[in-house]
């Protein structure tokens, strides 16, 4: 069952390859490859399609996604354009990868055979990888894991603890205290101009009464100051007093009709 299959260097397969056992690709495959065993793509191997297997060892070119249930290893000279995922992902110096790399996965298969290797930290994101770095793969793997737990642990407690108590305690008292004193002065000022308006209306009917009316005006503002809050609030809701004497509805029409 675990017989190794080989696609020779001079062979081109255009179609899907799937099944059990391991597969070694030295030629070209244009189609998806899905096997239960390991997949080795030689330096001259070319695959255009998704490749999935237990452990993928890539030395050739792949245009498609790589999925290894145990590991995905890009050897020097490999060129991969596609997403890479597996419990362990290794990208050696000299390998080229372009795509999304995800190192979590299903370690079930790997854990059953060898728990230790599965627990090993996986290589960092593919973007960083592009071959030029002369660093060997092992240090990269060791450096990658520690930053992850630190980042997650710090931000969570800080954000939740600080903002909640501060925000609730401060704004409430301030908002209530400020608005109360502020509005009254504005309203008092508005009332002052109002009283003079009624005075001019009164004089026209009785010209003789103008003198007595003048003294009446000053007391009016004093009353407004004492009774500021209650009477003033209802007044602003009403429309401003008409400058022209009110004419009851229909009077104009009656006049026009009468003239006509």
């Amino acid at each position: 069952m675990t017989e190794t299959s080989v696609i020779g260097a001079g062979t081109i397969v255009s179609g899907h390859v799937r099944g059990q056992g391991s597969l070694e690709i030295l030629g070209r495959v244009e189609g998806d490859v899905s096997v239960t065993g390991n997949v080795v793509i030689g330096p001259a191997g070319r695959v255009r399609g998704n490749v999935s297997g237990a452990q993928l060892s890539i030395s050739g070119h792949v245009q498609g996604d790589l999925r290894g249930t145990e590991a995905v290893l890009l050897e020097p000279g490999a060129r991969v354009a596609g997403d890479i995922s597996g419990p362990r992902v290794g990208i050696a110096p000299g390998a080229l990868a372009r795509g999304h790399v995800q190192t979590d996965g299903e370690p079930a298969a790997a854990a059953a055979r060898a728990p230790a290797p599965a627990a090993r930290p996986v290589a960092p994101p593919a973007r960083v990888v592009p071959a030029p770095s002369p660093v060997s793969p092992t240090p990269i793997r060791a450096a990658a894991p520690p930053p992850l737990p630190k980042v997650e642990a710090r931000p969570l407690p800080k954000v939740e603890a600080r903002p909640l108590p501060k925000v609730e305690a401060r704004p409430l008292p301030k908002v209530e205290a400020k608005p109360l004193p502020a509005p009254p002065p504005a309203r008092v000022e508005a009332r002052a101009p109002l009283p003079p308006l009624p005075s001019p209306r009164l004089p026209p009917p009785n010209p003789e009464a103008r003198k007595p009316e003048a003294p009446r005006v000053p007391p009016a503002p004093s009353q407004a100051e004492f009774t500021p809050v209650r009477p003033i609030k209802p007044e602003p809701r009403r429309p401003p007093p008409p400058v022209v004497p009110v004419i009851s509805k229909g009077t104009k029409a009656k006049k026009k009709k009468s003239h006509d």
């Binding site: 020779g8 260097a9 062979t11 179609g15 390859v17 059990q20």
Partner: protein
């Protein structure tokens, strides 16, 4: 050494073409074209037209065969399809159904 080997548990759906020897122990559906020898193992199930220099069948093959040199059906082998080859042998215990053209 065989250039291409299709293992017992492997299935290929599609065309295979090349210039080297091909050995099949698994399943193939599609077409098989090569300039070298083709060997169909005892566990193989092939549903494909086969073109090659020579063909040796120990498993099951369904499809037309064109060989520039020879076609041999081994004991236990089964071939259904037309054969066009200069030399053609059927071993005792093999089964075959189809037309034969040896005028190449």
């Amino acid at each position: 050494m065989a250039g291409t080997v299709i293992g017992e548990g492997l299935t290929i759906e599609g065309d295979i073409s090349g210039d080297e020897e091909i050995v099949i122990h698994g399943n193939l559906r599609g077409r098989l074209t090569t300039t070298d020898a083709v060997t169909v193992g005892g566990t193989a199930v092939v549903g494909a037209d086969i073109t090659g220099a020579s063909l040796s069948v120990a498993g099951q093959v369904t499809g037309d065969v064109t060989a520039s040199e020879r076609v041999d059906i081994q004991a236990g082998g089964k071939l259904v399809g037309d054969i066009k080859a200069a030399r053609f042998t059927i071993a005792d215990g093999a089964s075959f159904k189809g037309n034969v053209d040896m005028e190449v």
